[in-house]
Structures are given as structure tokens and as C-alpha cells.
């Protein structure tokens, strides 16, 4: 499939066709996952990341009932994104010893999301791109946290995972930027999502104690609170996102979803 869409201002600079052609499958082909040994603390955070990365179908359940499913370029990306994240979650499941990737439902559900989607129209696509970008930013901080004390074999796996995810982040950033720049309504919807949703996207699949553990590990303490500011800053520079919304986001990340 070729060519980019023409109803959004600004050129799409991410090559979706190239992305789909070069998808990363089973990470066990690149890294000897079974040989990696981790500490109990690392295992806990990696197990949480497994749940968060594995939340693709739960997320798509809310996303595809809106106008986002009509955008063939975006769905081509999402199909491959879900495939790559499946294998990221698989590797994390193996390393953390958490067993099969847990699944569940995210808040909202198809009726509420579809109804909201009808009212939002095509502007919802930009908001979904911001959600994907923000999810990646938060998870990236979590990977930073794990990597800080990781032994070389685990570092090798994390490098492969982050390399895979970097293309997702690039797509979401590119799409969020051009869609928000050309559609104020999209920016308003994105802001509402930032304020109302739990971050990262899969957080509601975790129980309260596990969510607290994730927040404490990733955003706890003075140094780690800077990580929340870093995420908020990256969101604040998106077109149409107000500083107040970004500040609220930073506070929410530190406080926990």
C-alpha cells in the first residue's frame, strides 16, 4: 500500500510502508532471553512492563470504535505496532518469570468510546496519537529505571526493545504534531485525554498495589520526579497543548494513576 493521506495538513514524514516491511518479530531470535538473570526488583518492574506492553488489544478495543479505524495509514501502523509489542511483552514475560501476558479491559468500553468518537469525528485520531506518544514516553522512563542497574545481558535485551519502540514513538510524535497543528479540536481532545486517562495506557490493568509500586519505582523520589517533568515537557511542546495541562500531567505521574 502506498501514498500518504491528503486531508491532514503537513507532510507525513514517517514511512509506514517501510515500517510494516521491517517489523521486528520474536525477540528471542535476537537475544538469548532464557539466559538473562534478574534481581527480584528488576523482575517486578519487568513483569509490570510486560502487562503494560501487552495492553494492545485492550487499547485497540477503545480506539478502533472511533474514526481512527477509518484511517488506513494509521491502521496499517497499528497492526504492525501490536505485532511488535506482542513480542516485546513475550520477552518481558520470559525474563520476569511472570508467565503468559495478562489481558483485560481498559476503562471506557466500546459504547462510551464509540459514542464519544461520533461526537469527536476525525479529530479523535490526533488525540489517539498523543495517547500513544505519552504512553511511550512514560514507558521509556520505566526502561531507563530498569536499565540503570541492569547487567549486560539484560541491557542487551532492553536495547533491542527500546530500538523497536523508538519507531513507534517516532510515528506517534510525527502524527500528533501534524494533526494537532492543523486541528485545534484535536488538541482539545488530546488535552482532555491527558487529564482524564490513567498513564501509561495499560495502568488500569494493574491492581492498586502494583500501580503504586510502578509509580514509586519510576517517578518516586526527587531525582525520579524530574522524569515526570521530562515527560510533561515533551508533551507541552506539542502544538495546542497548554502548559497547565502538562504541569497537571507531571503531578499525576508522580502521584500515581
Amino acid at each position: 500500500m502506498r501514498a500518504q493521506e491528503t486531508d491532514v495538513e503537513g507532510a507525513a514524514d514517517f514511512d509506514v510502508a517501510a515500517f510494516t516491511r521491517s517489523a521486528h518479530g520474536n525477540l528471542r531470535d535476537a537475544v538469548d532471553v532464557e539466559a538473562i538473570r534478574v534481581s527480584p526488583r528488576e523482575a517486578q518492574l519487568l513483569g509490570i512492563l510486560c502487562v503494560l506492553e501487552g495492553a494492545t488489544m485492550a487499547h485497540l478495543r477503545n480506539v478502533l470504535v472511533t474514526a481512527t479505524h477509518k484511517d488506513a495509514r494509521v491502521t496499517a501502523f497499528l497492526v504492525t505496532w501490536a505485532f511488535e509489542k506482542f513480542w516485546v511483552a513475550d520477552a518481558l514475560s520470559s525474563v520476569s518469570g511472570s508467565g503468559s501476558t495478562p489481558t483485560g479491559s481498559l476503562p471506557g468500553g466500546p459504547v462510551r468510546r464509540a459514542t464519544g468518537g461520533i461526537l469527536a469525528g476525525r479529530s479523535i485520531v490526533g488525540a489517539h496519537m498523543v495517547a500513544g506518544y505519552l504512553d511511550d514516553l512514560v514507558l521509556d522512563v520505566a526502561y531507563d529505571t530498569v536499565e540503570s542497574d541492569a547487567a549486560p545481558p539484560l541491557r542487551e535485551l532492553l536495547a533491542v526493545i527500546r530500538g523497536t519502540k523508538s519507531r513507534h514513538t517516532a510515528f506517534f510524535l510525527s502524527e500528533a504534531t501534524r494533526r494537532l497543528a492543523s486541528d485545534q479540536r484535536s488538541a482539545r481532545l488530546a488535552e482532555r485525554g491527558i487529564r482524564r486517562e490513567a498513564w501509561p495506557i495499560g495502568a488500569p490493568l494493574l491492581d492498586a498495589a502494583t500501580r503504586d509500586a510502578f509509580t514509586a519505582s519510576v517517578f518516586g523520589g526527587d531525582v525520579r520526579a524530574d522524569h515526570a517533568e521530562h515527560v510533561a515537557h515533551a508533551i507541552a511542546v506539542l502544538p495546542g497543548i497548554r502548559a497547565r495541562t502538562a504541569s497537571e500531567l507531571a503531578r499525576t505521574l508522580v502521584k500515581g494513576a
Binding site: M1, R2, A3, Q4, E5, T6, V16, T20, A23, G25, N26, T56, M57, A58, L60, R61, L64, V65, H69, K70, D71, A72, R73, T75, A76, L78, V79, T80, A82, F83, F86, S100, T101, P102, T103, G104, S105, G109, P110, V111, A114, T115, G117, I118
Partner: protein, 273 residues
């Protein structure tokens, strides 16, 4: 036998065609009738994500096996679209994101309300609704395999036949998943059997009917499923569907062909050439 989801995910790949001599189509191009059918198939494969949307409105996504299957299945179907688009490309037809998007946008209010309808039904019916979706998926996949096999037979083009054979082989694994799910869920619930029987008998239509124009559906069904051989293939799909618990004697494919006015006897493709 239960479907081995781990084996399926570990061996799921994008269909490959790099070793096939697609350049040969420049010397031996497909005719317009076949290209129109191929374009229909391409669009339907790309639109699989729309069916995923409906499937996700049921509680099925909470099942790790279903979730894993949907991830791989979606990607495989996307690549079927890419493979068929590569053949079209050799004939000067380029499939663009914008065109597919335009087709989805044209569906209008029905498409917007469908997930709400599906979700409400799913809530009212409960988990038995998953059985209906699984049986529906099996019917669609059986139909797809039949369509690819018929196209390969009719064209007698070795390059196209090999590509379609590879696609049909992947579709066969999808059938295995859907039938294993449908069989188990239908066997466990009389209510699921009644609901599924009613839904298939009343609402099932050839794959692509909800997205493509009626003229295109009639064209493809006439091309692939008309005449004695086409009708025999349809009966075979019906027999497969009827082998699922509680779906005995269903003949949804034949009924659909009759409804579209597709000739049930005579030589293949007589009415379209």
C-alpha cells in the same frame, strides 16, 4: 484437537512473494474481470481491521489466546492485502491509503453505530456472543479459502496460483483457530447454538458485502462462484459450517448466492465473459 496458539504465534509470518516472478504479469497480464476480483480481495484483506473492531467489542479480548491470535491474524491479513496489491501494481494499479480510507468513510452512520450495536448485544447475550463471532469468522475464512482456490483454478496462471495457494494456506490456520473456538463454545451452550444459527441464517453475507459496492460483490461471486463448479464449492463451505454444533443443515453461502442472483448451473464464468 485444540489449537496450539504458541505454535501459531511462533510461526506466524508475513506471506512472502519475493521469489515469485511477478514481472511475468507484464507479458501475461490478467484480464479486467480478474483484476476487478483481485482488487476486491485486496480491499477486503486490508479492511480486516474493521472486523477486528467488531470482535473486540465482545469480551473475547480478555482471553489471552484470542488476543494473541487477533494480533497475528490481523498482520497476516494485512500482508495478504500487500501481496495482492503487488500483483495489481504489475498491472498499473496502485492501492493507496487514501482510497481505502475513502471507502471506510463512505460507510457512514451504519458503520459508526455498529460497534455500539455489537457491544450492547454482547452485553445482553453475554459470553455466548463470542461463539457467534467465532463461527462467523470460520464461515468467512472458509469462504476466503474457497475464493482463492477458485481464482487459482480459473486463472491457470502459475505465478498467481502459487501466491494464492500461500495465502490460502495461512487462511487455513485461521479456520483452524476459529473452528476450534466455535466448536468448543457452541458445544457448551444451546443458547450459543441458537443465537449463532439465527445470526448466520439471517445476517451472514459474502465477505466484503458490508464494505464493497453490491455491483462488486455480484461481480466477484459471478466470477468465482457461478456455474456447477462454483456452486459445488459453495456447498462444500456450507457443509463445513453445518458441521459445527447446532448449525446442522445451514446453507448460508448458497442462500447468499441465490439472493445475489448468481447462476447455480452451467459453465464457469459464462455469464461474466
Amino acid at each position: 484437537m485444540a489449537f496450539d496458539i504458541d505454535k501459531y504465534t511462533a510461526t506466524s509470518v508475513a506471506v512472502h512473494w519475493g521469489d515469485l516472478d511477478l514481472e511475468s504479469f507484464r507479458e501475461h497480464p490478467l484480464d479486467d474481470t480478474s483484476l476487478r476480483t483481485l482488487r476486491y480481495m485486496t480491499d477486503v484483506e486490508y479492511h480486516t481491521v474493521c472486523y477486528t473492531r467488531d470482535l473486540l467489542t465482545t469480551p473475547s479480548h480478555r482471553d489471552p489466546d484470542v488476543s494473541a491470535f487477533m494480533t497475528m491474524w490481523n498482520r497476516e491479513e494485512f500482508w495478504h492485502g500487500e501481496a495482492l496489491a503487488a500483483v495489481l501494481h504489475m498491472h498499473g494499479v496502485t492501492v493507496q491509503y487514501d482510497e481505502l480510507k475513502a471507502k471506510r468513510l463512505k460507510l457512514g452512520w451504519k458503520d459508526r453505530l455498529d460497534p455500539i450495536k455489537q457491544s450492547v448485544l454482547g452485553t445482553l447475550v453475554g459470553s455466548d456472543f463470542i461463539a457467534t463471532h467465532m463461527a462467523w469468522g470460520a464461515a468467512n475464512e472458509w469462504s476466503a479459502i474457497t475464493a482463492y482456490n477458485r481464482m487459482a483454478e480459473l486463472e491457470e496462471n502459475p505465478v498467481l496460483a502459487e501466491l494464492l495457494r500461500r495465502i490460502a494456506k495461512q487462511e487455513a490456520r485461521h479456520v483452524a483457530f476459529y473452528t476450534s473456538q466455535a466448536r468448543a463454545r457452541l458445544a457448551a451452550s444451546t443458547k450459543a447454538q441458537k443465537l449463532t444459527r439465527f445470526a448466520l441464517k439471517r445476517f451472514w453475507a459474502p465477505v466484503g458485502s458490508t464494505i464493497m459496492e453490491r455491483d462488486d460483490v455480484v461481480h466477484v461471486m459471478t466470477h468465482l462462484m457461478s456455474g456447477d463448479a462454483g456452486r459445488d464449492a459453495a456447498r462444500k463451505v456450507d457443509r463445513s459450517i453445518a458441521s459445527l454444533p447446532g448449525l446442522e443443515d445451514l446453507r448460508i453461502v448458497e442462500d447468499a448466492l441465490d439472493g445475489l442472483g448468481i447462476a447455480a448451473d452451467g459453465d464457469d464464468r459464462v455469464s461474466i465473459r
